[in-house]
Symmetry: C2
């Protein structure tokens, strides 16, 4: 597997673009991804009871089993808590792009991100979407335009592409994502778009996606808030020309590894770019009774405001990590737990079998000064291990979110 | 029922004091509460898997059923994650006070609050506790000294007392509490101490406490972090002289009402004094399917960092409230939900049957400028109603917790 420059336009036959249609004052706010060849499609969506209208639209198309040609994404408005009008607006948005591209309305997926509870500005959509669609192209720059147009409070664009071979056949998986706040995915997440030219059945594509998000997008948290709009969509147009992957085996494994690489990169990019974040935090937890237990423990650590502010303050306050594990809801023996911190500046053990160690404050400070820090936890209860990612909690999170809507 | 000046020394026969023994650099760090008459005792404790040593000590005494004479509380060190040495230190702390007061070691309860994972400075305890115990007294000021000595990041002392009559008999319930961060009680909470001269059986005292904390201490949150040390203790010495309350009935109801008043006041005081808080937030949620559902929904709203920062920014971003309900884990129909905000400046509806209302931003702003704001939620699904309290999330929370331990 090779990481290459690019994103959703890296795989054969995919075009993309981004533009400004006026939902946001001065930043690009509309992205389109398109494949002339119809695409097998897999998706994963938010588990929030309050689901945005586009989530309903995309889920219905997923359940219908049909192939798709395009995705239209707006930022600046979530089209959530907008009732029946919101459902109609999502369908109309698909129709506008479908007409511009000459495809069926139900071959167009829709995603939205932004403020909740504000009606979609449909005049801007009807006028703007066909204009933006005219600028579709397959270059690296076209991919970048799309990745930038889906950003909200993101500070960097999040894109990656990888190349892999199955026998003589080369295939590509590329993706983009957005997300910085309201990030605590549950089964699905934020907005993530992956395109690939692999030839694969719908069932195996969904299987690969579901497995990949479980240890990538579902393992990140910024602020514990699971959004109404989380969606990860994968489109596969088959242009790589490999024999169709319709069962497990070496070809599926190779595709899965490439898809996972893309999902993990996009997910970790989101944790790293968490609103106001100054540090990427990684929890590597081993010895849990089960994967679910490990996940709950790791996310409880990464969601704790007290843990997050301690890392912002570069304070080796491991007691808050232990405390957050204790209230996670998972039952465990505190007397078996080991905790250590690690970064490129070194590693320092803090807790051994439930007892505090006399550690070097100076060494701990050096470790915590780094921008990427790993919290190592050993439970001593079983064989399950998980890795999860989050970020610290700074003054800027409060600044950004004390004044987001207005 | 009458609210009177006072706290844990308000009820007949109770003495208290506070002093400085050197655990903290310059603030009082040790409190003692004492009744010469032995007290029936009830308690509720943290559900965190990682329990502090004093919690184990107090639970064992509760289970033994014996009466108690005193409580010793230190701030500055939580005596949590301190292993067998910590258990021994909690027992030794009880012994030191027991010897000073001439009572049995197992008639002394112990509470600690402060940093996790640091061995207790037992030399200071052994030297300081007898000195502080010498200053016990029953005045209002003695109660204040105790209330101040248990504070950590609290900015105000939290005390209350109420007086009530049963027939000709007057009884008093007084209390103090501490807590500002790591506040998200589960079944018990933080530190709360209630003294009363009512004559009541152990079973009925525990019954009253368990019921009272369920809708007071267990209904507050500051940061979603359930502490390792949460404890609420009630001591009843019977000096009011009423016939013993050993079953439900009018006398029990009157005592319960007084106890609840004290617990609620102490709990709401903690939410209002949340670390860095500028506003007290109250959620009044009705029409839930069950009390548990309502509690989960209300606490999900009050725990959301996005909701909390929006209130800090005085932004009427009700979408975040709706979103936090959606990911709470409670299943409900979004199309039945109503949301409004209210304060002394007025009331404004935001969401009606799942649909956004065109509300006055100007009026909403005025409501949000107040220091105490109520979020009104109607679920339209059942008869259960709950009230919960929290606070906003400001820059100061980050400042306080980015630099607590060091």
């Amino acid at each position: 597997m090779k990481i290459i420059e690019g994103s959703v336009t890296a795989a054969k036959g995919f075009q993309a673009t981004g533009g400004h249609i006026g939902i946001k004052a001065d930043k690009n706010d509309l992205a389109v991804v398109y494949s002339e060849t119809p695409c097998t499609y897999a998706g994963a969506f938010t588990q929030n009871v309050v689901k945005a209208a586009p989530v309903h639209w995309d889920k219905a198309i997923l359940e219908s089993g049909r192939k798709v040609h395009a995705v239209v994404v707006n930022s600046g408005n979530a089209n959530a808590a907008t009732g029946l009008q919101g459902e109609k607006d999502a369908a109309d948005t698909a129709l506008v792009l479908a007409q511009a591209l000459g495809v069926d309305q139900k071959e167009v997926l829709v995603c939205s991100t932004g403020v909740i509870g504000v009606p979609m500005p449909m005049e801007l959509i009807k006028k703007g979407v066909p204009e933006v669609a005219k600028t579709l192209g397959s270059s690296l720059e076209h991919g970048n335009l799309a990745a930038q147009a889906i950003m909200t409070t993101d500070t960097v664009q999040k894109t990656i592409a990888v190349e892999e071979t199955i026998g003589e056949i080369t295939f590509t998986v590329g993706g983009m994502s957005k997300g910085a706040g309201m990030i605590h995915p549950n089964m699905a997440t934020l907005l993530g778009f992956v395109t690939t030219d692999i030839n694969i059945s719908k069932e195996m594509l969904q299987k690969a996606l579901s497995k990949a998000i479980n240890t990538s997008f579902n393992m990140i948290t910024v602020d514990g808030d699971t959004s109404t709009n989380d969606s990860v969509l994968v489109l596969a147009n088959g242009l790589a020309g490999n024999p169709i992957i319709d069962s497990e085996g070496e070809a599926f494994d190779k595709f899965y590894a490439a898809l996972y690489e893309v999902c993990k990169y996009l997910a970790v990019s989101i944790a790293k770019d968490g609103e106001g974040a100054t540090k990427l935090l990684e929890v590597r937890l081993s010895g849990a009774k089960s994967f679910e237990d490990g996940k709950t423990l790791a996310k409880s650590i990464l969601t704790s405001s007290l843990v997050k502010t301690a890392f912002f303050g570069e304070d080796a306050n491991w007691g808050r990590i232990f405390c957050a594990m204790g209230y996670s809801g998972v039952n465990f023996d505190p007397n078996k737990v080991n905790i250590a911190i690690e970064s490129s500046a070194g590693k320092e053990a803090m807790l051994s079998a439930g007892l505090p160690l006399a550690f070097s404050e100076e060494k701990a400070k050096k470790i915590l000064e780094e921008k990427e820090i790993t919290i190592l936890v050993k439970m001593g209860e079983g064989d399950a291990q998980v890795t999860a990612w989050g970020c610290d909690f700074s003054y800027d999170y409060v600044r950004i979110n004390g004044d987001y809507r207005s």
